[in-house]
């Protein structure tokens, strides 16, 4: 009974409803709610801002011209507003990047998830993460001053600015995103699926390709979609290494501007607020957002349709 004396007798009033405490709880909850809703507000603000300025732009330029004209020269006297040259630059550089990043990222992911010994994985994963943390402007420098001269040794006619070198470096840059997400998806596949496969006499490679990868398909698709979004939205590497001249071409050996590089080029100059040149970057930005949005939706659908639940 000695312990009983330690218990403090609290006056009943203190345990009851406290207005101040209640007020503080409500106040904090409101602040937390507001900060969560802010992310939705940001998205709405992005869309509204791009649509608002693009709307003014499309009062000067018809959407048909915007989509079909083959020249993009908004800052010249003879102004043309065809987005195609910028889209072609974006598509070519992104395709090269994805041709590098998706196969290499997938192979690295399969290797790390299914083959590599524990120590290799423990060292390689943080290293890849560091690789993903290198600023893009540094990769741009590397593309312009290291990769391009290297490629020029192989293709002597390659110009100093070209989509090939920018795309290749962009691909290397995206590898960590693809590999880490793909690996996470593959490791989330339960062990008993692998054990079942091994018990049937399958090798590691057969198990990885025929059992683990199909089971992890939705996650792998999400990783690929993220890689595509990164490639399409990447700015500094192409702005530095691919030149900023809009050029309707599908040839990776030529210089060309991407949508993002054009926005950079205009922003570096001194365009007055409200001019048509100012509005073009919002129209270009809207195009970019729509492209990434389409891929995000595809990713969402793929994830929903092929999700395997264990």
């Amino acid at each position: 009974m000695a312990e009983e004396s330690h218990i403090k007798i609290v006056p009943a009033g203190k345990l009851g409803y406290s207005f101040r405490r209640h007020l503080r709880e409500r106040f904090i909850e409101t602040f937390l709610f507001m900060s969560a809703v802010l992310s939705v507000a940001i998205m709405l603000a992005i869309i509204m801002m791009l649509v608002k300025e693009s709307f003014i732009f499309f009062q000067h330029v018809s959407i048909w011209d915007f989509l079909t004209d083959t020249q993009w020269t908004p800052l010249f006297d003879d102004a043309h507003y065809g987005i195609l040259p910028l889209v072609s630059g974006t598509v070519v550089s992104s395709l090269i990047a994805l041709l590098v990043a998706l196969p290499l990222g997938t192979i690295i992911a399969i290797y790390l998830s299914e083959f590599a010994p524990f120590t290799v994985r423990e060292v390689a994963k943080p290293f890849l993460e560091l690789l993903g943390g290198v600023p893009t402007v540094v990769y741009g420098y590397f593309a312009l001053l290291f990769v391009t001269p290297l490629l020029q040794a192989i293709f002597p006619e390659l110009p100093g600015f070209n989509l090939l070198s920018a795309g290749l470096v962009m691909g290397i840059m995206i590898i960590p995103y693809v590999s880490s997400m793909t690996e996470d998806a593959m490791r989330a596949v339960p062990m008993n699926l692998r054990e079942g496969s091994y018990a049937m006499g399958a090798t590691r490679f057969q198990t990885a390709i025929r059992v683990v990868m199909p089971a992890a398909f939705s996650g792998i698709a999400a990783a690929y979609i993220l890689g595509i979004s990164r490639a399409v939205g990447e700015t500094m590497v192409v702005a530095i290494a691919a030149g900023m001249q809009p050029n309707l071409t599908w040839n990776p050996m030529e210089p060309a501007a991407t949508i993002t590089a054009y926005i950079v080029q205009v922003s570096l100059g001194d365009l007055p607020h409200g001019s048509i040149g100012y509005q073009t970057i919002f129209a270009a930005g809207l195009t970019l957002l729509l492209i990434t949005l389409v891929f995000n939706i595809i990713g969402h659908v793929l994830r929903k349709r092929y999700r395997e639940i264990y």
Binding site: E25, S35, V134, P135, V138, G233, V264, S267, T292
Partner: protein
Amino acid sequence: MKSVNNLEEIRRIISLHKRWDLLFMIAGIFALMIAVLTFMALFAHMLIDGMPRLSWDFFTSFPSRRPESAGIFSAWVGTTLVMLVTAVAAVPLGIGSGVYLEEYAPRNLLTEIIEINVTNLAGVPSIIYGLLALGLFVYQLGFGQSILAAGLALALLILPVVIVATREAIRSIPVTIREGAYALGATKWQTVSDHLLPYSSAGILTGIIIGLARAIGETAPIITIGALTFIAFLPPSPIKNEFPYVSIEWLTAPFTVMPIQMFNWVSRPEEAFQLNAAAAGLVLVVMTLAMNGLAIYLRYRMRKNIKW
């Protein structure tokens, strides 16, 4: 079905398949090597070009027309101040939003919209945030091409990183901790502030560091805002000699940051400026590597020490 008696045949098939295993192992190591070697080449190239330029003067000189006397003084001061604004804006909002989604949010349509939206925000190209900041902060709210506008733009950019890190850190705390706190009569906020936030602080800190490391290297949104590339002066000092000792004048000052300075030097044709770019890049890479390394170390420590 073929007869299984043919042991030789089975052995042959297995050894054939095992050869594929080996081939793929080699392919995997090869792919990993490409990533590793690229990074080595990148680092070595910058080290060789940039190292001779790195000196005390490089850190304390303003950019200049003469490459050999140009430095990154205004750039690193600008980066520090912009990061300050970014951290002050993104950390409370990110943590608040993460706590709300994990602990407070009711299961309804709005919560689902917020969750999907956070994922989508993480996929929006960074230059789009620059356009938002240009239209909203620079012109509509009248912040001008200032440190405040740049810091807020980067804060929006890293918000999803902080939110996701906060949510994951809080989610990993077992529900028994919450039940214990509630059983003792703690309110929701007391549970969050006395238990959940302290226990998840290492995870949240990791997320903040990774976010800031990303913000330090971001160039595109800041160019879009219209940051000047040639700044040969410092923003007004935040600390004053006379009362009230602190000043917020620097928030509205024009500025430049490290990646912009580097971009400016890379895009010049003279080789001497490109050496400066290499030196600035080296400083930038070491900074981001150190921050990311710290985050990885923190996570490693955390995983080792905390066993619920």
